[in-house]
């Protein structure tokens, strides 16, 4: 049961991050201005790549590595978490990575 919750949490975090990245870059509700190349690079490398990494971890069942997307996306998530808009949800997805990683860890220990 704990494994399932950990997996669902991890999936939610990864897909949630990906969806927020797509909204942020291509369907931004706050601005019609096209995202700069620098913004795209930062968002892809600090949010999309960790989400992809988390998905791969879940697929190949390397659950211990779920801490990596949390640490990877933490700096930008902390920043976005302080914005007043919808992108503060990025902080939530980052916390979900941590919860998922901890659940995997404790599940592994309890075995």
């Amino acid at each position: 049961m704990k494994m399932l919750i950990a997996k669902i949490t991890g999936l939610l975090a990864a897909f949630g991050s990906m969806i927020l990245v797509i909204i942020l870059l291509y369907f931004n509700p706050y601005s019609s201005e096209k995202s700069q190349f620098g913004t795209m690079m930062i968002v892809y490398t600090t949010l999309f790549a960790p989400a992809l990494f988390a998905l791969i971890c879940l697929i190949i069942k390397r659950y211990r590595l779920m801490f990596i997307p949390f640490i990877w996306s933490l700096p930008i998530s902390l920043y976005l978490g302080l914005t007043p808009g919808v992108f503060s949800l990025i902080m939530l997805t980052c916390i979900l990575y941590l919860i998922s990683a901890l659940l995997f860890l404790f599940n592994h220990k309890s075995k």
């Binding site: 706050y30 601005s31 620098g38 930062i42 920043y79 976005l80 302080l82 914005t83 007043p84 941590l98």
Partner: protein, 263 residues
């Protein structure tokens, strides 16, 4: 045994959650705490050198550290015919260097929305050419989202004897309302600093512009972040010099940097 392990697990989760939460809160308040610790009135100037792999270098980049803010002053020169550029500048006070990144090449769109000055007197000699310059400071956040922008436009005549004469100037300003991150920036004030001025031999015409932008909805709602922009353009017969000075102060201001765009 299983219950014991479960209990231990819960205690661990609690400990880790408290640790993470403390870390987040500590980060949130660190900027203000550090700002308060610094000596008031202290001012340190430091000239920065260009990093070796910079494709764009400026005449001079200086950093001025004050008690509550860090000001960056950039002096540049543009020759007539040079390609318009948008350059991102990142300063490293510890290393004493600055790093530039060419973002794109293209003119600054002229869209003056506010004050504009024009020369009212007829110049004594026929102008060989009318020259123009536009310089923008664009404050950005860590995600490279534009927050607040100030632009000065200067037009001047270059006479056949190499002297210059003021023609007109204007300004433009933009604030993210909202920015791509959902924060709102506002213009506090903007004004030309005095009339256009000349050097004694009329080989340079100068114009200075200052502005202040602010935001209060990032982080804690009662704390303000300021972006100060000063742009000076010095029209010459062969091109122009400019000084773009910016500073960010207030809540989380150390996260902000700037881009300089020039035509």
């Amino acid at each position: 045994m299983v219950i014991n392990l479960k209990m231990k697990g819960l205690v661990n989760i609690k400990k880790i959650s408290i640790l993470v939460l403390s870390f987040v809160l500590l980060l949130g308040f660190s900027t203000n705490v550090f700002a308060a610790e610094k000596t008031i009135g202290e001012q340190n100037k430091q000239i920065l050198v260009s990093e070796p792999n910079n494709s764009i270098t400026f005449k001079k980049v200086e950093i001025i550290k004050e008690s509550d803010k860090t000001t960056v002053s950039v002096d540049g020169h543009v020759e007539f015919g040079d390609v318009p550029k948008k350059v991102q500048i990142e300063v490293d006070a510890k290393k004493g260097t600055y790093k530039t990144k060419l973002l794109s090449v293209g003119p600054i769109i002229k869209n003056p929305t506010s004050t504009s000055d024009s020369a009212s007197t007829i110049q004594p000699m026929s102008a060989t050419e009318l020259r123009s310059a536009a310089v923008t400071i664009n404050s950005i956040d860590p995600a490279y989202w534009s927050l607040a922008r100030t632009t000065q436009y200067l037009n001047w005549n270059v006479w056949s004897d190499g002297t210059v004469g003021f023609s007109s100037r204007s300004l433009n300003t933009w604030d993210g309302q909202p920015t791509q991150g959902g924060t709102y920036w506002y213009l506090n004030w903007i004004s030309f600093q005095g009339d256009p001025w000349y050097t004694s031999n009329y080989t340079m015409v100068g114009s200075d512009l200052s502005s202040q932008h602010y935001n209060y909805d990032f982080g804690l709602p009662n704390l303000v972040t300021y972006a100060n922009h000063n742009i000076s353009i010095y029209g010459l017969s062969t091109g122009y010099d400019f000084n773009a000075t910016y500073s960010h102060s207030g809540e989380f201001s150390s996260l902000l940097s700037a881009q300089i765009w020039y035509n």
